[in-house]
Symmetry: C2
Subunit: 207 residues, 2 copies
Amino acid sequence: MLTIDFWYEFASTYSYPAAMRIEALAAGQGVAVRWRPFLLGPLFADQGWRDSPFNLFPVKGRYMWRDMERICAALGLPLKRPDPFPQNTLLAARTAQALPEPARPAFSRTIYAAEFGEGRPISERGAIAQALADCGHDAASVLAQAESPDGKAALKAAVEDARALGLPGAPCVVTPDGEVFWGNDRLETAVEWTARGGGQNRDTTCL
Amino acid sequence: MLTIDFWYEFASTYSYPAAMRIEALAAGQGVAVRWRPFLLGPLFADQGWRDSPFNLFPVKGRYMWRDMERICAALGLPLKRPDPFPQNTLLAARTAQALPEPARPAFSRTIYAAEFGEGRPISERGAIAQALADCGHDAASVLAQAESPDGKAALKAAVEDARALGLPGAPCVVTPDGEVFWGNDRLETAVEWTARGGGQNRDTTCL
């Protein structure tokens, strides 16, 4: 089965609607999804940014929040800003990484629903433990794995993978032939690209 | 007839495919398009950027050029990078602004085709004069108007309008009810929003 990698960051606003809809979208085209949590912070730091670009560049930030309102309204998703924005997502990302891959979607959607659907903080251990419990996991043991040296190293390796792929932000879909599609609004294109056979349409006269 | 404002900048890569397809897209939904040239430079300077963000942030730039290849291939548009990128687009924008609005689309597409379809420089007076002549205009008289105090003031006013609207980049569509949609990949959404009656779907529980 053709599989796309879905790269997401828990602090990323546009990753929220993407996470909520990518499974149904991909399944409709016979494409499987592998969930790849990562952190944007280290990649943004490469570009000299020490905060979300939506905070650093207020014009972009104002646009993004109105755009998110429209997108969520169209999808029937609630939207409430967490305070502060962005949340510290280190523990959430380590936890998603520590879960077996098939358990990541439900946990990740639970975090997004709390963070952007209800505006609740998700930086603290208690919020992560609650989400794990809500998904039927033994929170203590998953958190122990997430915070172990192996757990920390696993997320660090994921961030290195994201850097090597040149991901410009989140969410991103990486197709089986290595194409990167950035943004909630490019999910359809990424899935169709994959379903149509990946790179077959790379043979163009375009550049 | 419902009319959207299409805000574009001649140095903006994503404005190229948008300019090539927006008329047919809008007409298909019974929506008219008013072409509004502007300059991103002054707006980027507000954010501390003195160059294209695609040059300032190479990860974004690499992504954008590959993304443009895919988009142009899908649309059957040629793509060749102008050197240098970005081109100085002051005269092109003043000229588009100086033309009567109905004459702007053809002139603007001619500039984009030269700049991004053929990779030719469009910063110099000769290139602008050629594009004007190709579109059946008296180049000398249009250029005289474009470079007159009134012509310069008209573009400056357009940039002020863009700043007041909070445009985060180009291309942007502004709908009759004042919504801003940013990006070539949001043209469909903007046109559908307008055709469905503008702001009627602002009444949501979202946020």
